[in-house]
């Protein structure tokens, strides 16, 4: 479990870029949310616990040579394009680009060292073996989290849904994968991974833990810059289909009729034959989950996942006008037979499982 601590760590960036400032801010938010640590960002680098120094900038190099190198009480996180050879006892070297999860881990490690030092009244020198200079990855930060019970862990679907409802940009850390940046206001997901990989994540979401942190629109623009964009609705749809865990979300009820406002884009999401029939029915009439199950005999879990997905991407009318009854017009046996033959000929599966 996460340790709770009253420890405050003061941090200052020296010569760092705007993007790195945002990363520092986001990392601070994560640590605060986890109640691990309070980071105070200060303007003056002297006497801070941790100085984040860009060694590729003149300001950063000067500060390091003039002050940080000689300061035995301060940890220095040295950012550089290429690994540095010479390091002081309290220097941590990271090659660029700086990643939020890496910074979180570094600060967390510094905190542990500070607690140890405080307890023992002995500020032992920092062991570089505890932190690889440039190899701290998302796996490392989530490895500990994966050992915790997963019962209360939010799924990708619920995290995305929450962001969508609140229209809040978030950054999602996915164990062993690259970071996802979500912007519901622009209906996009940005990541270094291509859309196929992102859609693949939705299929295995129950086996992987995630962490998320809200970010501002400005931070999103900076952090997601240059990343590959995937339509958020496609990811939301898939994550609902694979992450609903057989239940309706709390915004829906199995007794209240709903109707589709528009069809989902089934050519660009993971598509199940049953979805076509459900969409065809709910496009013509309003039905509750229970009524839909009676009509189709499809498993409740599949129907609930469809309704969750349709609600999440705002295609579901939860206060529909009464149905006209036109949808109940029985089709002739000959016509049904023809449609079935066409489906067979084109290898179109119409089964529910």
């Amino acid at each position: 479990m996460s340790q709770t601590s009253d420890l405050q760590i003061t941090v200052c960036g020296v010569g760092i870029s705007d993007t790195e400032k945002v990363i520092l801010r986001v990392a601070s938010g994560i640590l605060k949310e986890q109640r691990k640590i309070e980071i105070l960002q200060v303007a003056e680098p002297q006497n801070v616990t941790l100085a984040l120094i860009d060694m590729d900038s003149d300001t950063g190099r000067e500060y390091y040579e003039e002050y940080a190198k000689k300061n035995k009480q301060q940890y220095s996180l040295l950012l550089c394009q290429e690994a540095l050879d010479a390091r002081g006892a309290r220097d941590i070297v990271l090659t660029k680009p700086l990643r939020v999860q890496v910074l979180v881990e570094v600060v967390d490690e510094v905190k542990k060292l500070e607690i140890t030092a405080t307890n023992k009244k002995d500020k032992a020198s920092f062991s570089m073996s505890q932190l690889p200079a440039n190899a701290v990855t998302a796996e490392a930060i989530t490895a500990a989290a994966e050992n915790e019970p997963a019962a209360n862990a939010p799924s990708l679907f619920l995290t995305l849904l929450d962001a969508q409802i609140k229209q809040q940009a978030v950054q999602i850390f996915y164990s062993g994968r690259r970071t996802l940046f979500i912007n519901p206001c622009r209906s996009i997901l940005a990541s270094a991974s291509p859309p196929q990989v992102i859609m693949g994540l939705t299929r295995e979401q129950d086996s992987i833990r995630i962490q998320s942190v809200p970010i501002s629109q400005e931070d999103f623009e900076l952090l997601a810059k240059g990343h590959i964009v995937t339509p958020l609705n496609d990811v939301l749809w898939n994550s609902a289909i694979f992450g609903s865990r057989g239940r309706l979300i709390k915004e829906l009820s199995n007794k209240i009729p709903v109707r589709l406002k528009a069809w989902p884009n089934l050519t660009r999401v993971d598509f199940h034959p049953a979805h076509m029939q459900i969409a065809a029915i709910l496009g013509k009439q309003a039905l509750s989950l229970d009524e839909l199950q009676q009509k189709t005999q499809f498993p409740i879990a599949d129907l609930a996942a469809f309704l969750n997905a349709a609600w999440a991407v705002r295609l579901l009318d939860t206060h529909p006008a009464p149905s006209t009854g036109a949808a109940n017009t029985p089709k002739g046996a000959a016509k049904s037979n023809l449609l079935a033959k066409i489906a067979r000929r084109l290898n179109i599966s119409t089964s529910s499982s």
Partner: protein
């Protein structure tokens, strides 16, 4: 006679879509374009495209593509006679695809009411001014809930999904 009708403006991919599921290469009645459309397409259909596939009882489902240019609209009512459903393809890179949507839905209103329509939007990757949501909003304003998908007419799977949706709405 079992017919599925493919319609939409010139260049939307009707001939290609028919070709992707037809057992034979589509029989085309193309001529060289001579008007402003020439910049976009060298050949265009003036009467119809035709393809078919055979069902397991030996009967055929005929696939007809209407001429793309609106001045041949007198052909449309002839072609739709006896049709089982309509596939409307719209080119997202066209000048005003939302107007095209409204135009074709109105032009085939009677046929759609009697049967059903599915809508495929092509070339979403070429032009990004409009999203699928823009098309959905037009349909919502009209109170119409029709299957609407982003498609690549060259991909048989995309065309099959259109046909699958058409079968679903015809069934229910």
């Amino acid at each position: 006679m079992n017919k599925i009708i493919f319609t939409g403006p010139m260049g939307a991919g009707k001939t290609t879509a028919i070709g992707s599921i037809s057992e034979v290469p589509p029989i085309r009645t193309d001529v060289k374009t001579t008007d402003s459309a020439m910049q976009r397409k060298e050949l265009t259909t003036v009467a119809m495209d035709y393809g078919f596939f055979t069902l397991d009882d030996g009967s055929k489902v005929h696939l007809y593509g209407t001429p793309g240019q609106a001045r041949f609209d007198y052909m449309w009512s002839i072609l739709t006679e006896g049709g089982i459903g309509l596939v409307l393809l719209l080119d997202n890179a066209n000048e005003s695809p939302l107007d095209d949507l409204v135009f074709y839905l109105d032009a085939f209103k009677d046929f759609i009411e009697k049967t059903g329509v599915v809508i495929g939007i092509t070339r979403m990757d070429v032009a990004s001014d409009l999203s699928l949501m823009d098309y959905q909003e037009v349909l919502m304003e009209r109170g119409q809930v029709f299957p609407l998908f982003e498609v690549d007419a060259r991909e048989p799977d995309d065309v099959k999904i259109l046909i699958h949706a058409l079968l679903a709405i015809l069934q229910y």
